[in-house]
Subunit: 555 residues, 2 copies
């Protein structure tokens, strides 16, 4: 059965019932049809939220297919609910563009899904569209100001880093020239489109704690310089009020349900390389206000998403996580041991053993945040008992909890062992969360701490451009911002080919971007794809809908 | 009081109550918050719809500010309801882009508004975003196919007319070059962005009668030619299934309410020059299924919007309108008499009289469709009794009904006189609708009929390019399609400077575009703006929102 078929077999509850179960009066939610709703910001209570146990689901360095963090998060939350703990899973929203490429949806899988999956994977409640609109409004205002004769800030078009965004896999928009066609149609300049998930506004929305905080952050977006080198921010263009108005609904978190009828909150979807890679602070606080356990995930491996979750999101919002679930797959361990992608389903104990150092490094990294992990082996049909035993032995030798989680095939039932381990960690107060670095350190110190402690690099090298960027950052008075390192997810290093646990490598910072609105700096360590392309045969070719509105081919 | 202030003073009813009043079980609607809903397609009943009296609100040639057709339509529907006739107003959705330019919203004005105006003017229920996505998915698929090595249709990039769209006033996107940046980022080619309302998909959605009809029309979109001159349609790229899936909710009409608590349906928003300029067929049929009177409007003046409403929409969907309301303002008549824009509020009987021929020509045009009109004088504070008397005299001399409608200041009460006139026309069965031309005529005959009969031209001239386009149209077997002439709205002629009732002019067809999906040809007679720009000081600068989510500056 495909995920879509499984999803369609579920009899959904009206979202008002889910809201009641979650603890919000159905009169106070905004329905989007019968199965989706926006939750009101005033249903967040900081004090109550502090009593919730925040669980982060992360993963070892992933294979190209991903290791199933979303599925694991959903399954774990179901499992916790089965054990009598009121739990809510809080996730990112899927990006629409990749749905028509290769990826399919991003709403879990098998019997661990959030529903209605077709809606969540398509337009959902319009949040991405609103973010796209707010982003492109600023772009239009910038080019309009350059075109303007009387209202001009004298922006130097060559200094503008603010592009446009579209939630579409469209490689032809990566590098474009706009403003052609004569004097009435703008000033020609080089620019491009990123996918909407890569918009700084996505990052901003996911760190904002209120509409006024959102507006302030939007106003702080760095646009470029005037010809006489004065920095220009969105607020200098008086753009932030209208941009915030466009986001008035997008800032509200979305309530949906899991296959087992438990509440799920899905809100925001920033990248985990150039941005913080986790759902919104508002959604997390909403989940925590109304739940004993709040299960959330951060993008890619622990080195990327989780580090940012801890150092950027948790520090920014004052969150104290209680446990880490490290999603691990037998196939990914074999991949890190040197097996090629096609042979990952074949039993191979020797290669598996060679891949274990990747897992070990991520476990060590978790310890650097004073967090206690549980290894969740995301069960695949091809896994052998012998292979699983090897991971269990490793865990035992280190005194680390491990659970096999069969969440795809069994839903919450398959996650009960994992849920028990999580409850043990929480109830024994084993974790004592501590961020890795102090935001007040110098930018180079912050980068060096992450690169050496987490990635395992020898040291950090800076290109001339990166050093020039650093001087600009100092001039703008932005040294106090945390760093959101853009790095490949395929390796702990900045070289996607170095699998396992690379050693003796250098991290090279090529440039450092400024995301003042979001509130971080982005050291770039490689080619980061911000606008994917479609494959030769896009999955859109197989998607269809009949006259009853039933979609096929989405997965 | 601003429109927004008036709107905020209204105590809104829950949209479920409006649905009940309209005649649809609230269980069958999809709520979008408390005050917006999507209506199910199965609530349309063709037989019932035929019993409804369809009233078209049109206008004389407008001033740049517009003459208030939307406000008039809303007011008239309120007036009909006050007189005991169950009436629903069916309107187009506003475009978001212009909201940040000069225009403000498009939800009526004063005491004749549809609500909630902030939501309707911003993202509403996401229809425009969905249309934009479906459009740009096809664009991405086209460029992906050009990039592809193994799946290529060998499309000649120089023949592709399909651009991208964005609902934003962004002049810099009119003429762009995409696909720069090397072999991995597409094939460089010239293209551009139109505003979303100008998308052929908007026109398609508004003429489609079901999901399968929508899919068929989307598949018929003409993309361009292969290098060996074979025409390529969207279906050749297998794009129509996924595009239709993206539109599964956008095809459903939106229910909102008027200030006086009557149902209003708002759905679709195509341009009235390059497209048919009226709301969706589905929305009109939905209104007609459940109402004794269905009041709708068509864009710009009668020569543009109404001609297309009758010849394209009514013929396509088999609709029989029963009366025409010709919205007229004293200020527009003075404008056509030669007064400059700044002096329109000053009494000026002589200039007003000079402007009457514009009104007379539109009245004659209405007669050519065998329709009976009522002149609705849209009352402004600056109008004098003497000026109004002159219009009434003209009407009396021609035996045409006329009513002063004070809909802005008085809502439905101000439209009772107009509503009575409409009821008289309907109950006396005075109209005997007949389209102007037969779709089966030759393309040049169809164009000539409209140009001479409606615009008042001497004859039609064709550029070499237009004649070449005609040969292409014949080769593709598309001569049977109706013509949707793109012409300035400012004049009955194709020269925006010829006000009043121009005579002895020639219409020049510069080129003829193909909209096979929508099902019409587009003869272009002038510079048609498909992507507006922002003004020097965009209205976005004055838009703001507070922490309670209250928006200011939208109007």
């Amino acid at each position: 059965m495909t995920d879509l078929q499984i999803a369609k077999g579920v009899s959904l509850q009206h979202i008002s019932s889910i809201a009641e179960k979650f603890g919000i009066d159905p009169d106070n939610i905004e329905l989007y049809g019968k199965y989706k709703a926006k939750l009101p910001l005033n249903a967040i209570n900081r004090e109550k939220a502090q009593n919730s146990n925040l669980i982060l689901v992360s993963a070892i360095s992933p294979t190209p297919a991903g290791e199933g963090k979303t599925t694991m998060s959903i399954g774990l939350s179901e499992g916790l609910n089965r054990l009598g703990k009121k739990s809510t899973v809080v996730l990112r929203e899927p990006s629409l563009g990749p749905v028509f490429g290769i990826k399919g949806g991003a709403t879990g899988g098998g019997y661990s899904q959030v529903l209605p999956m077709e809606d969540i994977n398509l337009h959902f409640t319009g949040d991405f569209a609103a973010i796209e609109k707010a982003h492109n409004l600023l772009s239009a205002i910038i080019d309009n100001n350059i075109q303007s004769k009387t209202n001009s800030l004298l922006l130097d078009p060559r200094t503008i880093g603010w592009k446009r965004v579209m939630d579409m896999n469209d490689r032809s928009l990566r590098h474009i020239i706009v403003g052609l066609g004569g004097t009435n149609s703008g000033v020609p300049r080089e620019t491009g489109f990123d996918i909407t998930a890569a918009s700084e506004i996505m990052a901003i929305l996911c760190l904002a704690e209120s509409l006024s905080d959102l507006k302030k952050r939007l106003g702080n977006i760095f646009v470029g310089y005037t010809y006489d080198k004065k920095p220009i921010y969105a607020k200098d263009l008086k753009a932030e009020g209208a941009m915030t108005a466009l986001l008035k609904d997008a800032i509200k978190p979305n309530l949906v349900q899991t296959i087992e009828g438990n509440p799920a909150i899905i809100h925001g979807g920033p990248f985990a390389n150039i941005a913080q890679g986790t759902n919104s602070v508002i959604a997390t606080l909403m989940g925590m206000t109304h739940s004993e356990y709040t299960v959330t995930e951060a993008g890619f491996g622990f080195d990327l998403g989780a580090e940012k979750f801890f150092d950027i999101k948790c520090q920014s919002a004052g969150l104290t996580p209680k446990a880490v679930v490290l999603t691990t797959t037998i196939r990914a361990l074999k991949y890190h041991g040197g097996a090629d992608l096609k042979s990952l389903t074949e039993p191979n104990v020797a290669t598996l053993k060679k891949g274990l150092p990747n897992l070990e490094k991520h476990l060590e990294n978790i310890g650097k945040f004073k967090m206690v992990p549980v290894i969740a082996i995301n069960k695949f049909v091809s896994d052998t008992e012998e292979e699983i035993a090897i991971v269990k032995e490793l865990a035992a030798s280190k005194g680390i909890r491990v659970a096999v989680a069969n969440v795809w095939a069994q839903g919450g039932e398959g996650a009960e062992e994992l849920a028990k381990a999580v409850i043990e960690i929480v109830e024994s107060e084993a974790s004592a969360f501590k961020p890795l670095y102090d935001w007040k350190s110098s930018v180079k110190d912050k980068i060096a701490t992450i690169a050496t402690e987490i990635y395992g690099a020898e040291y950090v090298d800076y290109t001339a451009k990166a050093n020039s960027n650093l001087r600009k950052i100092t001039d703008l008075g932005l040294d106090h911002l945390p760093v959101c390192i853009a790095k490949t997810q395929k390796s702990l290093s900045d070289n996607p080919k170095l699998l396992g646990r690379p050693k003796d490598f250098i991290i090279t910072v090529r440039e450092i971007e400024i995301a003042v609105g979001a509130g971080f700096l982005i050291p770039i360590t490689g080619d980061i794809m911000r606008m994917p392309g479609l494959p030769t045969r896009p999955s859109s070719e197989g998607i269809d809908i009949n006259d009853d509105g039933e979609i096929t081919g989405l997965f």
